[in-house]
Assembly symmetry: D2
Homo-oligomer: 275 residues x 4
């Protein structure tokens, strides 16, 4: 399946500023970047970085005062893998790989250390594996209303939970929090989602089950088999599309993702194996 | 300098339980484990793991109900490096290495995304580099009282700050939070500290300056050149000495660290380069 | 119905200290204090105060260093009123009496301003009146485990909610929070509860329905028709059994309430009209 | 001194809605309402209420869908009282009047129970009385930046403190929090402030010293001797200018206060006795 993704960011830089951007499609065993083009206007020197722990691709640049426009366009080939059957097992605690352990721990926006009792009461009787994570997704959907503007960059999973509202970022955070509290490693995934309305960067999450990562969309708004992944992290703090030091105002932003074969994709809390 | 460290943990396991322990001395370019012995009674199969992103050494084991005792003893040779002069520079944002970037982001117990304004107001005029981090350490010491029992495992840096009390874990968290808010990557370091009173595992932190990590003790209770490091992480969530699934009660715990040459170490917010 | 209540507080006063105690039975239209005796050893001058807004009875005294013992004993006659039928109505917002309005607002431990959406989603379809408040009580019981020591004096309703555990104080706070979010004024009631196990001061709450206050026990541990009320307030901050300036340690505390007719009382989230 | 105050609120009511408005000048021993006019368009029945504990004047009305405009205009005569000298004393804890005690307790937006240690460390050496409260006002001004939009209706004093920014409401909350933590009763005062830029309802606070209430402006933006008081409460939760059940959008709001003698008022954290 081929997806065309595109994003444009326009800033007014007010003081000399340094930026990291995390907006380029990831390169993984199941996601092939067929072609991509990143343009910066006015021209600036770009450094490409890769975070060792995650493989996240970062773009670093320094800009002088004035307008700054980044445009990214790529064609991405997705090679989804459908496991023979959804795993009804979770990797036992003592058998978790060392590189997965960090995703079992609480993080800035996922206070899994607080909700152990709530999680076990709510999901303790679920069938382990994909069923339990699907139960968590459904519970998140039952408990949150999707309300643009109801949260901001400092909102945590439990704050969204008590106010019963959030956006995709908060849905993913709350699902991750409950997975971790149940002993299931979970991580945040940012990406381009086909047919997202309104179009924007999207937040998904992955759960580690039966020794591989499975992708879920807690909002049930976008098909996971059409997500073009950008980056993964413990939570949204790790995958902000832009971070900078200096002074700049984001004037305009546009994001799109189009399935080049235009299929009528199903939606829901479906999963695909993405390891 | 050679340090003898020792720790003993005694549990009463109540249901079959799986554990990860993070209590063994780290092996780094400046810390050599001359000899070490970990004993488990009753005998249990042990898996040694190493976290790829940090090199943290973990011990995994599964125990049946009944008493469980771990005893660790090691002799560690420290090879401190004294840089020619304390760096009066901080690595520019756009030049930070990719593996250091995660330590610039907020984490579960270090809400650096909240305190940018407070940090710049308080430390904006400090001399960059080691001076600024020393100012942060002094400020943390001015603002917190060391009060055992005043915080627990879910206390964040800002909660300790508003109640003006904490223990070494909270001192380190608050210093890390302020460093990150100033654009200085910082990470939590757990370890064995010589002459700590009362003896316990200790929490230090490292700041990334002039392209290497420098070690600080925000409590100013223990000399940093005598710390035997166990593990590093974004905050205390990453370096808990024990985590488990199951049911077990910690009945007894003893920690010690002795300088085999018994020097009269200086104390304070001194730093050593530890990269 | 006659209840014998008794409480003893023993302090070791370390510096000259001033105290307010809120431990004496309230005098209301439905609660008659037949006899009462408050003794203070060593002898100290006592001021009796009555808070105008609530009628709460306070005892003020100043003590020198050394032991301080307060003993209170009273026989209280309860005159419960059973309304003809439980009200299936709530007082409309614009018809609430001015002295009731403060109990509709958020307070220190009852963040009702946060949970409007959660409350309407959960209780919006309940039958108004006593049924809705009973639904809230049942929901609180479903969501919290009664775990002594799980909360402290600074724990809020929403903190107890996210950790799914608390004590009577937290049960009452969470029920009050949800009532207020639904537009039902609610207030905290401290008192002596017959047969409470373990014996202690108890926390109940009242909801304002059909122009009178109805008493509920969110813990469903004690019969509300046997509660001897001490004081009411917006939340536990208003009815602490002791507050002081100085330095003193509470060494011993004993509370009891005995139904002098020893009936086999039913328990549950029953209500009585208490206005 | 005579002040002309005026406020206009325009709503688009979307469903039948019930409102309480707290926008009319208070009537106190030192504030005389010479004339006032409240108009409602379209015409609606108005109930005037007075909260017993505070004397706050509330206006209740119910409106049908459509536009709703309230206009209030009054001429208010202020009779300030200048005490012979600023009190260098605080009312001892055990001598506080019963009706003042509620203002010593923590409230929704003033978590004074958390900051006792911080308060005593910061203000323990201040001269008691007006000096100490002035120190608190100066400290609040040093720690907060006045940033419109930096906080919202659910922001607490400690949240404003950690982010080092807020508006008049937050300044008052933080000052109240510190006063209470030092044993000085303090309460929130809403009002019309002359020359406020931009014009809006303003938040002041009062501290209880030497047996009377003294008025302070923690923002130091408006002269306290020209404040036309509307209402008092434990914090902003008690004095919201409008609260309603139903659905309505505030389309327009205008507030003004003019000193009819147009004096060149001094500004600062001055105080006047207002009891």
């Amino acid at each position: 399946m081929a997806i065309a993704v595109r994003s444009t960011l326009q800033y007014e830089v007010q003081q000399p500023s340094s930026f990291f951007f995390v907006m380029c499609a990831a390169v993984t065993g199941r996601q092939k970047v067929v072609d991509e083009l990143l343009t910066v206007a006015p021209h600036a020197h770009i450094d490409w970085l890769s975070e060792p722990a995650t493989g996240n691709r970062l773009v670093a640049l320094t800009a002088e005062p004035g307008p700054l426009t980044l445009s990214y366009a790529a064609t991405v080939e997705l090679l989804p893998f459908t496991p023979p059957s959804p795993p009804e097992e979770e990797t036992p605690f003592a058998k978790l790989p060392a590189d997965v352990l960090p995703y079992l721990r609480p993080s800035r926006y996922c206070e899994s250390d607080i909700v152990g009792r709530l999680a076990f009461r709510t999901f303790g009787a679920s069938t382990p594996g994909v069923s339990r994570v699907a139960d968590i997704c459904n519970w998140v959907n039952d408990h949150l209303d999707y309300v643009p503007g109801s949260t901001d960059a400092s909102t945590t999973a439990l704050q969204a939970f008590t106010q019963a509202a959030g956006v995709c970022r908060d849905y993913a955070h709350l699902a991750i929090t409950m997975c971790r509290a149940m002993g299931v490693p979970a991580r945040y995934v940012s990406g381009y989602a086909v047919d997202l309305d309104p179009p924007d960067f999207h937040g998904f999450f992955e759960a580690f089950l039966a020794n591989q990562w499975y992708l879920f969309d807690a909002t049930q708004m976008a098909p996971v088999d059409q997500l073009v992944r950008i980056a993964v992290g413990r939570d949204a703090a790790d995958v902000a599309f832009a971070s900078y030091v200096g002074s700049a105002i984001l004037d305009f932003m546009e994001v799109s993702a189009v399935d080049l074969a235009a299929p009528g994709s199903e939606r829901g809390s479906r999963f695909i194996s993405t390891a």
